[in-house]
């Protein structure tokens, strides 16, 4: 059920969520102590570590809400929320499995065939199978319905795909893409018609993955080019022509989680160390202001998790959280630099200087990825009855 409500009911407290939260905290403390990872900003984009993903899978922290017969653990969205939030707060390397666990799995669960689910979902839940999002294209960003990647049926009933997808995070580490394609010619009267989603094995012949470096030089984004790629006919995801509807539902998952306000939390944590050491009232006040904003975002995001547990898909509330949350992520940088004298540099001997640099160089992405804030505000405006 898609919900058009801006305001959601308060989330009930969940003892199960608090328990798993403690378990994750203990796990993360042990991993940090063992040096298995170091904390960084925005690790759900940049921190790919298949061994770490596997450990999460082993502990039952991936595919948490899915049915057991697909390798899931039949836990609540509130429990999953607690796990993801703890991982993000620790700046743990979660990018490998993030997309698969967050949105591709749920998409398969809703629209996949029995065979697709049985083959793929258990591997995602084990932390062994990573996905990329095949939506944006070189000429199609916010205007997603204008995509030109084509899929046509050949004589064998397979799909032949041609086109290119961009900003595909970690395609070079991933196994599958869910690719939005135009499966029938564009209809000017109904721009959303004729789109379909295909489940594409990234090892198929004809697929080229070209790196696109982001501002800090990091290789996370790619251009994925499809040149007469033959995708088996049974790898259609959902219904032919229903791609727009499916993608919209997928985006609600993409937009609703705590990664939409915690990307720069490791910077807040590093700043807190500075504020504690200095006792500077201005720094304490800044920490207080940032905390208040973060706590409000948590409440909003928890309400979304609770709504998911009620079987709702709160599309508009999710857009709203992402707008407010990603704005916060960027504001953290300037709030901090106004009260601390520390140059931002990836080479800084000061961990706060490094965190500032990481946060700054990733900043333009926060309010773009998963739908620009302008697009999100348009969705909110629709929810307010203005469109």
């Amino acid at each position: 059920m898609s919900s058009t409500s801006l305001t959601l009911a308060p989330a009930p407290r969940s003892a199960a969520a608090e328990q798993v939260r403690e378990e994750v905290r203990e796990f993360l403390a042990a991993e940090l102590a063992a040096g298995s990872f170091t904390t960084h900003v925005d690790t759900w984009l940049s921190g790919v570590d298949p061994a770490f993903s596997k450990k999460l899978g082993d502990r039952g922290w991936l595919g948490m809400t899915w049915p057991e017969k697909y390798g899931g653990h039949e836990r609540t969205a509130m429990e999953r929320y607690a796990v993801t939030e703890e991982l993000l707060a620790a700046g743990a390397p979660v990018a490998g499995h993030w997309i698969a666990d967050r949105q591709s799995g749920p998409n398969l669960l809703t629209y996949g065939t029995e065979r697709q689910r049985a083959e793929i979902l258990p591997r995602i839940a084990a932390g062994e199978c990573f996905f990329v999002i095949g939506m944006s294209e070189p000429d199609s960003g916010s205007d997603l319905a204008s995509i030109r990647t084509r899929a046509t049926r050949n004589a064998d009933g397979d799909w032949v795909v041609n086109g290119a997808k961009v900003w595909t995070s970690n395609a070079h580490h991933s196994h599958y893409a869910i690719v939005l394609v135009r499966s029938s010619p564009a209809d000017p009267a109904n721009r959303h018609a004729g789109l379909s989603q295909l489940l594409v094995d990234l090892s198929l012949p004809g697929i080229t993955v070209n790196p696109i470096r982001i501002l800090d030089g990091g290789h996370h984004f790619n251009e994925v080019v499809f040149d007469d790629v033959v995708v088996p006919g049974d790898m259609l995801l959902g219904e032919e022509g229903n791609g727009w509807h499916q993608v919209t539902a997928e985006l609600a998952f993409e937009r609703s989680g705590p990664e939409r306000f915690l990307s720069t939390y490791p910077l807040v944590a590093e700043f807190a160390r500075r504020a504690e050491a200095s006792g500077d009232p201005a720094q304490l006040a800044t920490l207080g202001r940032l905390s208040a904003r973060l706590l409000a975002l948590r409440q909003m995001s928890l309400r979304i998790a609770a709504a998911l547990d009620r079987g709702e898909l709160p599309t508009i509330a999710a857009a709203l959280v992402k707008d407010v949350g990603t704005t916060f992520e960027g504001d953290v940088i300037d709030e901090v630099r106004r009260v601390v004298e520390v140059p931002a540099s990836l080479d800084s001997p000061d961990p706060l200087g490094r965190a500032l640099a990481e946060a700054q160089l990733h900043e333009p992405g926060y309010t773009l990825r998963g739908g620009t804030n302008e697009i999100l505000r348009g969705i909110v405006a629709r929810g307010l009855g203005l469109r």
Binding site: T7, V268, A272, A275, G288, S291, A296, G378, L386
Partner: protein, 356 residues
């Protein structure tokens, strides 16, 4: 329907007969509105019946306060129902009824001495000036939080008869009375609060303002949506312009964030868990939203919103004041910042997840 819907409806019905007006030194509160609320028992909601209240839960009192805030009701109800009333009841300070306003004064500059004036135990003499007293000159009784008498920790909460006291006529940005009271050896009944009780009282006051801010922010958004839908320029309603839609969506984001945190802080207060930090966070977050929401509301309304004849200022002027009352935004930001660091910076995250 929530349990509070009936309360909200009752308050709205009463408000319907009392339009907000421009507050002046001559007419600084809405005594007619107060009389109607008192007659309906709404000035005692959430306070126990055996202590002169009307009974009900904290959620009921919150509903009354929020509805009056959204309606720009110029009455000391937030102070009475959420701060002074519960504090007096909890401290066991003798009082009569809640039909006449009792307000709160945070008076750190006032000193108290125990006295034996023959009126029984718990008698004190108060000396000093209480500043920024909400509804000074309006409320005949004031719950004054002073420094504790020498040798005691915490603070003294004393109920002062304000009728004969010298009062200045200062007002906040909305014209709500915020004058000073000169206490020159004033006798009063009171009780000593522990430091923890004192902190809770201050936090409850901040929470009261946060509840008012949240309700007023929602109302301002709603007025702005309505105006943008009705006002036609270039042949179409303002609401159809993308630039305006972006602004309205931004306002909605702020309003929703505030409501979520204020609701959570109210629940924390109800449970008696982390009440101080939760209230601090709610107050700071609500205050931070004022800049965005009031600015954009005025921007969308254009020049008419900049006049006294149009209703918008009844709430925006209150928003600009309330965010720095009951402890400034800066004060509560520091309290929250220091509070989440109390267990060490290495435990910041667990501390944050415990606040609400």
């Amino acid at each position: 329907m929530s349990d509070q819907d009936l309360v909200v409806e009752t308050v709205r019905d009463i408000l319907a007969g009392h339009e907000p007006f421009v507050l002046t030194a001559e007419r600084s509160w809405d005594d007619g509105l107060w009389a109607d609320l008192a007659a309906a028992g709404l000035t005692g909601v959430g306070l126990p019946e055996d202590a002169g209240g009307s009974g009900g839960e904290l959620a009921d009192a919150i509903a009354v306060v929020a509805t009056l805030a959204a309606g720009a009701g110029a009455v000391p109800v937030a102070e009475q129902l959420l701060v002074a009333g519960p504090a007096l009841v909890e401290a066991g300070v003798e009082h009569t009824s809640f039909d006449e306003p009792v307000t709160i004064a945070l008076a750190d500059a006032v000193t108290a001495e125990a006295s034996d004036d023959g009126d029984g135990p718990g008698r004190f003499t108060l000396t000093g000036t209480a500043t920024d007293v909400p509804w000074a000159g309006v409320a005949p009784r004031i719950a004054v939080l002073t420094r504790a008498p020498a040798g005691l920790d915490g603070a003294l909460l004393a109920l002062v008869d304000a009728s004969g006291l010298e009062t200045t006529t200062a007002a906040n940005l909305a014209g709500e009375p915020r004058g000073s009271l000169v206490l020159d050896g004033v006798p009063a009944t009171g009780a000593v609060l522990t430091p923890a009780q004192t902190e809770r009282l201050r936090a409850r006051y901040a929470l009261a303002r946060a509840v008012q801010l949240s309700a007023a922010l929602q109302q301002v958004l709603s007025w702005t949506l309505q105006y943008a839908g009705e006002r036609v320029q270039f042949g179409r309603p303002l609401a159809k312009f993308q630039a305006i839609q972006m602004e309205l969506a931004e306002m909605a984001g702020e309003v929703t964030a505030v409501a979520a945190l204020v609701d959570a802080a109210v629940q924390a207060a109800d449970r008696g868990e982390n009440e101080v930090l939760a209230a601090a966070a709610a107050k700071v977050r609500a205050g931070a939203a004022v800049e965005v929401v009031a600015r954009l509301a005025h921007q969308v309304h254009g020049a008419i919103g900049f006049t006294q004849e149009y209703r918008l200022h009844h709430l925006t002027r209150r928003l600009w004041s309330w965010r720095d009352e009951a402890g400034s935004e800066l004060h509560w930001s520091r309290v929250l910042g220091a509070g989440v660091l109390a267990g060490g910076a290495g435990n910041l995250w667990p501390a944050l997840t415990r606040v609400v």
